[in-house]
Symmetry: C2
Subunit: 90 residues, 2 copies
């Protein structure tokens, strides 16, 4: 695997995970991103282990699929999530 996808960091916890916080200018932009994320999950059959969102932010945790080690699967999903964005810095 290469470097982490832009903006993502690794976290510990029960399973190794990738984490990123996205911030937006309005609730409408946040909602647009969430809808795109739901479509991506449907298409790929993979959904983030946790999503925490409020008016202008979405925090995403992608847990290692096998619970042990992050692989290209999580990196590829993180990269695709980055591509959804109307993101406005964060």
């Amino acid at each position: 695997m290469g470097d982490l996808p832009e903006g993502w960091e690794t976290t510990g916890g029960k399973s190794p995970s990738l984490f990123r916080r996205f911030t937006f200018g309005s609730y409408t932009d946040t909602r647009t991103f969430l809808d795109a994320l739901a479509e991506l999950s449907e298409e790929t059959g993979i959904h983030p282990q946790n999503i925490n969102f409020g008016t202008t932010y979405v925090n995403i945790t992608l847990e290692a699929e096998d619970g042990k080690e992050l692989t290209e699967t999580e990196h590829a999903l993180a990269t695709r999530i980055n591509g959804l964005g109307t993101e406005q810095g964060g």
Copy 2:
């Protein structure tokens, strides 16, 4: 105001809030609930201050609109959220 809507509890934090955890039997059911919640937010123009969800749960925080006191506004929204449910206990 009457009693709290079923299943909701008050929490402290920066502003007084209503909190409830909903649990579901599958990601599909969770997704159906989230989509209904998004539609309700669009219809009412009010959205929860925070939503935290994973494969089979959705945690919802409704913060007091004025930051000081919970009113009928939050109670009514909580009751409508209860009505969305394909909820399976929690």
